[in-house]
Symmetry: C2
Subunit: 245 residues, 2 copies
């Protein structure tokens, strides 16, 4: 069977996340149904990251097995015909049989957008976190350096999560200020725990507000105590940008 | 009475345009109701431009008369509390009694976004016109120069319109190509006829496709024939950027 890898972009605003929940269809299900229209033997696809309700993606990756003979170049447009306007397949390629979008992933890149302007945006409200408070940008950059490297991020995981191995490596955190009042956070790492990026941003904003000093990040990580870290910022500012293999 | 001028931003996707229609409330009505919550004597506001269903604004201007004593600086946040997330008042100032957002306007700036990438965007679908065909960008720029200046734009007006004086001055048309495949059109003029910007963009795209030569624009304008101009491109790519006084 052929193994097809696709890169998917979506606006997560209207969806209950990647996976189907009791209260509504997930993006995975909608995408699977559309692929099934093109390749009728496809009943199931694998996704690289289970994004939450409201989270967006520019570079979600999925793969599926099929015997259908459509040329790989024609796959994106063929699937896109059946997708709603807020989900799109940007590219497709044929990969080795053992490629799995989730288990083969070596790392991921997430972006988080904070709107630090005095007034909320009407056009971008559901694509960013409106946070109009005075922020010390330099302190946030300094604090970010303490997160880089390999640490046990147990304190930066949603409290309900049952994951045992909470050690992760963050290879790079970039924070950029844009002229339009937005602060763009980029996180690259080998993997992220449940809600980890949103808790990291919440903690960095606490540093920006002066509630936490950059040097305190070290002891907060070591404490492994969720309560010592900042709050979980809203899903609507988060984007899955890229999955590395 | 005080005369208050406000600048309003909105995502027009969900609305039937600025004015209320049979099939749904307009942005003007929603805004008026929110202002009424703050200044209970306000029953009516004037808008600078009657944007159509699906058209967006970064710089719509409105004004209203009131005896309420709220400090002008507090007006934006006070109104924004009552507005839906896709409409926002960005600023407010007190102006002379004879200022009228529509009749005092000396000019306007509109932007139109064309997505000229091979694949449609999921995150920006309702904010641009997806047009994946090969375009001669230089020809479009040359054609745009023929539109600049004072002309009778009768052929570039929606055919149902009853306006008599169809002479308008376009002071500047800018066309920029962005790295992400978007083409940004900017139009500055003393005023625009009904659907004029959308017909101008449709005509420029016909030039880009090679259907019309840049030099033909002159005779198309002179013909005053709507059928000789290009089609009306969709509302979703259009933004009212600024109103000049």
């Amino acid at each position: 069977m052929r193994n097809i890898k696709i890169i998917v972009e979506y606006d997560g605003t209207k969806y209950n996340g990647w996976q189907t929940q009791k209260n509504g269809a997930g993006i995975q299900e909608i995408l699977t149904n559309s692929i099934h229209q093109v390749c009728s033997d496809v009943e199931k696809i694998n996704g690289a990251g289970r994004t939450d309700a409201g989270v967006h993606a520019f570079g979600q990756v999925a793969n599926f097995y099929t015997d259908c003979r459509i040329p790989v170049k024609k796959i994106p447009n063929a699937i896109n015909m059946y997708l709603p306007k807020d989900i799109v397949v940007n590219s497709a390629e044929e990969v080795d049989g053992d490629f799995h979008s989730r288990y083969s992933a070596k790392g991921k890149k997430y972006m988080y957008i904070v709107n630090n302007s005095p007034i909320r945006s009407a056009l971008d409200f559901y694509r960013e976190y409106y946070f109009p408070y005075e922020i010390d940008y330099k302190k946030m950059k300094k604090a970010a350096e303490f997160f880089e490297g390999t640490h046990d991020f147990k304190g930066f995981m949603a409290s309900g999560s049952s994951i045992k191995d909470t050690v992760r490596t963050i290879s790079k955190i970039q924070i950029k200020k844009r002229d339009d009042g937005r602060i763009i956070f980029n996180f690259v790492g080998d993997g992220f725990l449940y809600n980890m990026v949103r808790i990291l941003v919440g903690t960095l904003l606490d540093v920006g507000l002066g509630k936490i000093e950059p040097e305190d990040i070290k002891s907060i990580i070591l404490s492994k105590d969720r309560k010592k870290a900042g709050k979980t910022v809203p899903a609507q500012g988060l984007y899955l940008m890229e999955v590395y293999y």
